[in-house]
Structure formats: structure tokens, C-alpha cells
Amino acid sequence: MTAGTADLAGRNRRRRRNTPYLLLLPGLGFLALFFVLPMLFLASNSLQTGNIYDGYALTWHWHTYVQVFSDYHQQFIRSFEYAGMATVAALAIAYPLAYVIAFKSGRFKNLLLVLVVAPFFVSFLVRTLAWQSILADDGYIADGLRTLHILSSGGRLINTPFAVVCGLTYNFLPFMTLPLYASLEKIDVRLISAAADLYAGPATAFRKVTFPLSLPGVVAGTLLTFIPAAGDFVNVEFLGDPLHQMIGNVIEKRFLVQTDYPAASALSVLLMAAIIVLVIIYTRRAGTEEIV
């Protein structure tokens, strides 16, 4: 073997070793340009002072964080409450739905899956607006509840926290259903037969075998619902009332109406940090490392 071919072989080996990194480049580039860079902008914005007319200057003004937290901690808490309720409601609706699609739907399986994602063909805004008429004061549901005396004669559904949670639940339901379906569908039905053979009745078999095996789907679904729901502002905008705003509404107003970029940026950074902390606690508790 000559020195030339040895050199070539070495270069080939190096190239092969580098291939995975080369394949990563487009994705990394995209993330750097559209995630890391904006994040840095956001972080630097949050530490600036000034106004839209005179311009902003980076003054490392940490006090903005203290200020926005003391002003808006209520909205933070409310956002997580609403998102939490919507996540629980979506799980309660999506689990049976995904279970039926995965195990009991036979030849209708694909049709049902299409129906689950069908709402995506309509714009997010239009779907939320539709809930305005569903829950309207003179709508069938409000009328019906008043007739049944569940709702007082002057009571309303629209512009209440209830309406906001309904909207959040509805809008993020497919994000809950699809991961649940994926993990339920993967379960070998012979395991359920085996549980029955080993003295587990249907309820016990579900509790001991089906549900634990679907946990990865539960974790994925709840995260995909909770995270966007916590930052949402559209549902409050259309279905809620101004006194019960979520943190998303505050950020939106600060950015677009008051053009108070430092405060809006600080709120965004805080929201993100809070969500990251919650997600870490949650996944630790759920023990996903072992399940997935």
C-alpha cells in the first residue's frame, strides 16, 4: 500500500466519522438562527431601559424582573391553573377516545384518526370564535343549563374562566389524543390476554398493564397540551373576561399595545423558566426515563 492510498483511506474514514455532524448542520443552523438568536435578543431586551421613541439601551436593569413578577404573579398562577385544568380535562376526554380508536374501532380506525385532526383544517381563530357562539348567552347550552337550573337565570358561560378552560381543552385536544393513541396502539393485546389468564379482571388488567404501558403517551400528551396552553392568549381574548387574564394576554399587551419591550421580554423569559422547571419536576415524578 502506498502512502497515497493510505492517506485516501484515512480521509475516507474521517469523512465517514464526520457524516453525522454534517447531517446535523441544517437543523443546528436553523435552531441557531431562529431560536438561540431570538432568545438572546429577548434576554437582552429584558435588561434594557428606554422607550420606543428614544430607543432602548442595555443597562442591565434587573429590577424589571422584580417589577413584573410582583405586578403579574397572579396572572402567572392563573395561567398554570387554567392550563392544568385544561390538561386534566383533555386527558379525561382523550384517553377513552384514544383507547377506543386503538383497540375497538376496527375498520373505522383511520377515519376516526382523520376526524381527530380534522379541526386543524380550520384556523385556530375561527375555531375559538365558534366557541363564542356555542357558549353564548342565548345559545342552546346556556339556555339548557338555565332550564335545568344548573345555571342561575342571570348566569352566563361566555366570558368566564369556564369558557376559557373549555376553549383551551378543545384547542389542544388533538395534541393529547395523538400521543396517547400512538402509545396505546403499540401495546401488544396478547399482554392483556396474559393478564386475564393471570387472574386480572378487566379493570385490574387495565390498571396493572394497559395504563402503565401507555404512560409515555400520557406524559407526552400532557406536556404537549400544558406547555402551549400555559402561554395561550387567544382563548382569554375571545372567551374570557378582562379581569381574569392569563400571562399570555399581559405579554401580548405589553409588546403590541404598550410597546414596553423590556417588561414584555422579562415576562416571556419568566414564563419560559417557570414552564421548564414545572416540566422537569413533572417528568422526574413520572419517571419517564424508565418507561420510555
Binding site: A195, D197, L198, Y199, A200, G201, L213
Partner: protein, 396 residues
């Protein structure tokens, strides 16, 4: 919710026989199990043997309660369990793919059945059971961390620990390689003898069934073709299917020409053969006579008749193929009437002249001949690969 199930073995073992009465299962227009009746004596090792699609697994699933019969009944002792839910039957299954719970470790898998029945303090029992299947110390592992053979043992332990009245095994060794399979066959037999529980074993491997079972039911097309001890089935098959499926057989079309004492005189394409009259197997004068390949002795056509040869059945032919398998050499011999007969000759002394093309004489003890009713396909029950070898050899 613990189920209380009486698993205490009664004093009278006959009270725990598994009885299947007129059992039928239809899936739409297809009949998977066609009116079968069986009794599996308590404590025996019973095999349901047959090709895929013969209804053996469906029968097993009905006994387990995982499938409802279309008609018929299943009794455990005197109890009718036909429509009882699987989780209320004192029956456990070792599934074909093991079906171990992937989210539970070996210990929890094995303890599953006991805990569902509300039994506390299962540590000792689980440890003992893991020792029985030679997996002591593996309790903390997940099924995915075990080899196929180890998973198979866990599946066995998980079922056995419940001390079922009947243990069902659905092709439990199908996924193992040949050597491990042989080892596990002996292992299963040892464990069955040790625990004394009734084993019902479903398999398509006739050698596996013969190695392990006390009694074999050979199934075909949803029916039981023949039931008996392995030796009995092998020596005295009642149907062409059994003769071909359980081991191999050379089947010749014969007609009865007379009887001399206890011997039946036969004519096979001009050759005079005899067989014991009691093994005739049919009232008809036209019948199939069968002879197992290892019972035939092969000698070169030039050699003199051996001592006592006058009483042996003899047929002459030409070797068309031979293959050396180590223990024996398998020959295909074409007879004068064009049929290929199979001969397994033990490799004692090697006769170099016995090569393809050589003229040979086949001889066998008439007492080893069995008779079958001459109905149906001569090839019924032959495995595909055997047919292929035969036709390839015939073509060459």
C-alpha cells in the same frame, strides 16, 4: 380485587381431569375446531400435535377461556368451565411469544398471578419458582434484558407459580433455536414430573411431542385424527395423515390375496408380501400398507439372500438418491413400479456399492408392516419440505 379460587388439589386425582366434550369453534364460515372430544387425565403431559391451522391453538385458547366455543363444553373435574372468564379459571398459559409484561421486572412478572389473587408475602414462593426454572438472582431484571430461553423460563414460572389445575403451553419452544429447544424439552419434562401438574402442550413439532408427552392427540382439519401414547401412534398409525405426519412412512397400495394362519397375503404391483392379519386396519381388500424407513434393511442386488430372508418381505429397486446425515444414511429407492421408497440405514458398516444407480433389495420384517384404509391422498400429512425433496429426487 382478589378472586378466591380453589386451587387445592383434591385427594382423588381423577376429579381434576380436563374433559373436552363435542367442542366446536367457528370463525364466520370457517370451522377451526370441529366437534372434538378429549379427556386429559390429571397429572399427565398431553400434547396437541398438528400442522398450522389444524385447530390446536384455538382448542387451547378455549380451555384458557380466551375464546368462547361455538358449541360443546369444557369440564375441569366435575365443574363446567365452558363460559367462565379466563381470570376465574384455575388454568394458566405459557404464551407462544411469552407475553411477558415489559414494564415489570422478572420478580413482578412471576408474582403477578399470586398478587391478583390477593396473596401477600410472595417473596418465598417467587424465589423458589425462579430456582425451579434456574433463574435464581434474575428477579430484578426486565424481560428485555433476558435471552429468548430465559424469557421462556420466566413465562413458565409466571404460569406455574399459580399451581393451576392445568398448565397450557402454546408452542412454548417455537422461538428458540434447535439446541436450546432440545434442552428445554427435557427441562419442561423434568419440571412437569416435579410439580405433577397437568400439562397440555400445543406443538407442530412431532419430535417435540414424542419426546415430552405421555399422550398425543394428532389433530388435522379441526378434528382429532388419532390419540394415544407416542410409541403406539408411531407403530400403529390409524390414518394416512398420522402415518405421514408422525415420523415418515412408505405407503404402498396393496390388495389382499388370501390368508395363511395369522398372516395376510398381499400383492403389491406383483410383489408378494405378508403382514400380520391383526394389523390390517381395514375390512377392505384394497388397502395401503405402510413401513417405516428405519425398519427397512438395504442390501446390494448382487448379494445372496441372508439367513432367514425367506420370511422377510422383499422388494427390489434402484437407488436414486442418498444423503449422509451422520447417524444414518437416507436413501431414496425407486421400485419397479416407479414409486420412491425411503430407507434410513444406520451407519454401522458402510457398503461403498450403495450409491445412486445401484440395484438393491429392500427387506423388512412382516410384523413391522401396518395396514391403512386406502382412502384419501397418499401424501396427506407430509410436510412441504419432505414433498419437495421427494419430487426433486424423482425429477433428477
Amino acid at each position: 380485587m382478589p378472586e378466591s379460587i380453589d386451587l387445592a388439589a383434591g385427594s382423588d386425582p381423577a376429579s381434576h381431569d380436563l374433559r373436552i366434550v363435542d367442542l366446536t369453534k367457528r370463525f364466520g364460515p370457517a370451522t377451526a375446531v370441529d366437534d372434538i372430544s378429549l379427556t386429559v387425565p390429571a397429572g399427565s403431559f398431553f400434547a396437541l400435535l398438528g400442522p398450522s391451522g389444524c385447530g390446536k391453538t384455538t382448542t387451547l385458547r378455549m380451555v384458557a377461556g380466551l375464546e368462547d366455543p361455538t358449541a360443546g363444553a369444557i369440564y375441569l373435574g366435575d365443574e363446567d368451565v365452558t363460559y367462565r372468564k379466563p381470570y376465574k379459571r384455575p388454568v394458566n398459559t405459557v404464551f407462544q411469544n411469552y407475553a411477558l409484561f415489559p414494564h415489570l421486572d422478572v420478580f413482578d412478572n412471576v408474582a403477578f398471578g399470586l398478587r391478583r389473587r390477593g396473596i401477600r408475602g410472595v417473596d418465598k414462593q417467587v424465589t423458589e419458582m425462579l430456582e425451579l426454572v434456574e433463574l435464581a438472582g434474575y428477579g430484578g431484571r426486565k424481560p428485555a434484558q433476558l435471552s429468548g430461553g430465559q424469557q421462556q423460563r420466566v413465562a413458565l414460572a409466571r404460569a406455574l407459580i399459580n399451581r393451576p389445575q392445568v398448565l397450557l403451553l402454546d408452542e412454548p419452544l417455537g422461538a428458540l433455536d434447535l439446541k436450546l429447544r432440545r434442552q428445554m424439552q427435557l427441562e419442561l419434562k423434568r419440571i412437569q414430573t416435579e410439580v405433577g401438574i397437568t400439562f397440555v402442550h400445543v406443538t407442530h413439532d412431532q419430535e417435540e411431542a414424542m419426546t415430552m408427552a405421555d399422550t398425543i392427540a394428532v389433530m388435522n382439519g379441526g378434528k382429532v385424527e388419532q390419540l394415544g401414547a407416542p410409541e403406539d401412534l408411531y407403530e400403529n398409525p390409524c390414518t394416512v395423515f398420522v402415518a405421514n405426519f408422525l415420523g415418515q412412512s412408505n405407503l404402498l397400495t396393496a390388495s389382499v390375496t388370501g390368508q395363511s394362519g395369522d398372516d395376510l397375503l398381499l400383492d403389491v404391483a406383483g410383489n408378494r408380501l405378508t403382514m400380520p392379519a391383526q394389523r390390517r386396519g381395514t375390512g377392505s381388500d384394497r388397502l395401503y400398507v405402510g413401513i417405516r424407513p428405519e425398519k427397512i434393511r438395504l442390501r446390494h442386488g448382487d448379494d445372496a439372500v441372508e439367513a432367514g430372508g425367506a420370511e422377510r418381505n422383499e422388494v427390489s429397486g434402484v437407488i436414486t438418491d442418498s444423503s449422509f446425515t451422520g447417524v444414518s444414511t437416507q436413501y431414496l429407492v425407486r421400485t419397479a413400479w416407479g414409486q420412491e421408497l425411503m430407507v434410513y440405514a444406520p451407519n454401522l458398516e458402510h457398503d461403498g456399492r450403495l450409491r445412486p444407480g445401484a440395484s438393491v433389495v429392500l427387506s423388512w420384517n412382516p410384523a413391522h408392516t401396518f395396514g391403512l384404509e386406502a382412502t384419501g391422498d397418499l401424501n396427506a400429512g407430509l410436510q412441504e419440505d419432505v414433498l419437495e425433496v421427494a419430487s426433486a429426487a424423482a425429477g433428477s
